[in-house]
Amino acid sequence: MSERIIDPAAKGWATSWYEASARARIDGLLDAGSFREVVGPEQRRMSPHLPLFDLPRAFDDGMIVGPGRLDGKPVLVAAQEGRFMGGAFGEVHGAKLVGLLRAALVLKPDAVLILFDTGGVRLQEANAGETAIAEVMRAITQVREAGMPVIGLIGGRAGAYGGGGLIAGTCSRLVVSEGGRISVSGPEVIETNKGAEEFDSRDRALVWRTMGGKHRRLTGGADAYADDTLAAFRRAALDMIERAPAFDLATLEAEQARLEQRLTHFGDCRDATEIWARLGVNDPEAVPALTTAAFDTLLASLGETTHDAR
């Protein structure tokens, strides 16, 4: 079942990824009508734990999975609904993603696409969520080792936080937009633990400089930067499938070198603008306001932002 909630006349090309629901993102990303949802809402496989907390459940537990086609290529897709429980991992939510990755080992699609929109582990199901995240990371490396790229797409309001950030780090390639944030601890948690001097969680500009899409793209934390549209994410996903590194010792050695160099070059930086300046950006203060076109031009002029690792 695939419900078309995008106006067919608009074809979804200009629709904001950030504003779209998980199903709308899948609908706009994949070839028209090609997505077949499995363990869908009509199956009512809901959380067995949320009622204990008097919390409402979602029919699909906020995780939508199934096969589809991307420019004719067979793919398996998972999308998180970031507005339900912050897209956080619970038992069912996590199991659906684990199952999708195991299905990839059997079906051997051209790629697996993960549409992240998550705050991490769902506290009410913490142990199940955390274990599922570990199972996902293991399964992703198995899928990669079997030769299939796993492409992460990050551009929703919850970003990829906590365990979601770790899962993102196991993907072959990551696409990020301006609004997509990637981090382990959230701004509020850092502030609660270390004080506002360390991180003022209400300083939105600081949050985006530190964890946002542009910063991650500039440092190589993400591999492609997309405009906030379904069409842009589709183009970027197709591009990334072709550029995915193998999961082997050589790649991890390259990743080790890349991450060591980052500590050497930027380990004493206090703010992202210092990092960007050292990367060769002439006007670091102007980066947050750059349009996508201007940011793409900047990236092209910098050279160091693409790599063969991850």
Binding site: V38, V39, R45, H49, L52, F53, V65, L76, E91, G94, A95, K96, V98, L100, R102, A103, V106, V121, L123, A126, N127, A128, G129, E130, T131, A132, A134, M137, R138, T141, E145, G162, G163, G165, L166, G169, T170, I182, S183, V184, S185, V189, I190, K194, E198, F199, T210, R216, T219, G221, F247, L249, L252, E253, Q256, L259, E260, L263, G267, D271
Partner: protein, 238 residues
């Protein structure tokens, strides 16, 4: 058990395992060959620098090309919570550490996690949970978040959460709950030599990730395994 006691029980003769800045690294003789040990001691938080060093140690073992198993010994805090760590991309460093362990495990170096102290959140996922099998020692305390913090975030009274924790193992911290969830395979006996127990764990390593099956059998995760299996089945149709 302290790390020193663990190492003495693993390597009755000698070993070269040291701890620097809370990071554990080294090896000792084990079943005619060696057992590499990496990990975190002293309830230390795991940041970009520590994760990078630990990953390097794992890659050292893999590069050697022999079949040395790796013990991941953990008494850690959560991930280090700081502006600097997130600025530098902590998610990449923690994921990289997990990937080195997963690669090592797939390439002839069985990985066994041993939680003997604390661990939480991102540090737990990047180390102990990235091993093929995770065992614990009595008194170990893995957690996602402590109950008082859960109470603050969920706005539920602490005593109500404590009561609920008696009815379900799905959210409260603790070793027994992680055993029932399937994340921890077994709790070892501190009164028996560890070398033999770890050897037995290695000999019984499952070929696949069976944590969800264990979660179902033990009641901690009643639906994860069947739902994952249902996804596999339905994805294959049509």
């Amino acid at each position: 058990m302290t790390l020193a006691e663990i190492l003495a029980s693993l390597f009755p003769e000698s070993h070269s395992v040291t701890v620097t800045d809370g990071l554990v690294n080294g090896e000792g003789p084990f079943r005619g060959g060696r057992l590499a040990v990496i990990g975190i001691d002293g309830d230390t938080a795991l940041g970009v620098d520590g994760a990078c060093r630990l990953a390097g140690y794992v890659l050292d073992v893999v590069r050697r090309g022999d079949a040395t198993p790796i013990l991941v010994a953990i008494d850690s805090d959560s991930q280090r919570m700081s502006r600097r760590d997130e600025l530098l991309g902590l998610n990449e460093y923690l994921a990289h550490l997990a990937k080195t362990l997963l690669l090592a495990d797939a390439h002839g170096h069985p990985t066994v996690g041993l939680i003997y102290g604390h661990s939480a959140a991102g540090a737990f996922i990047a180390t102990a949970l990235a091993s093929r099998v995770l065992v614990g020692l009595p008194g170990a305390n893995p957690s996602v978040m402590d109950l008082p913090s859960v109470a603050r975030v969920t706005k539920l009274p602490l005593d109500r959460l404590e009561a609920m924790a008696k009815d379900t193992p799905v959210f409260a911290p603790g070793l027994d709950n992680m055993v029932r969830t399937g994340a921890v395979q077994a709790v070892l006996d501190p009164e028996q030599p560890l070398a033999e127990q770890i050897a037995a764990v290695i000999d019984a390593l499952p070929a696949e990730d069976t944590r969800d099956r264990a979660g179902r059998e033990r009641g901690g995760r009643p639906v994860a395994e069947p739902i994952a299996a249902q996804v596999v089945r339905e994805a294959a149709l049509g």
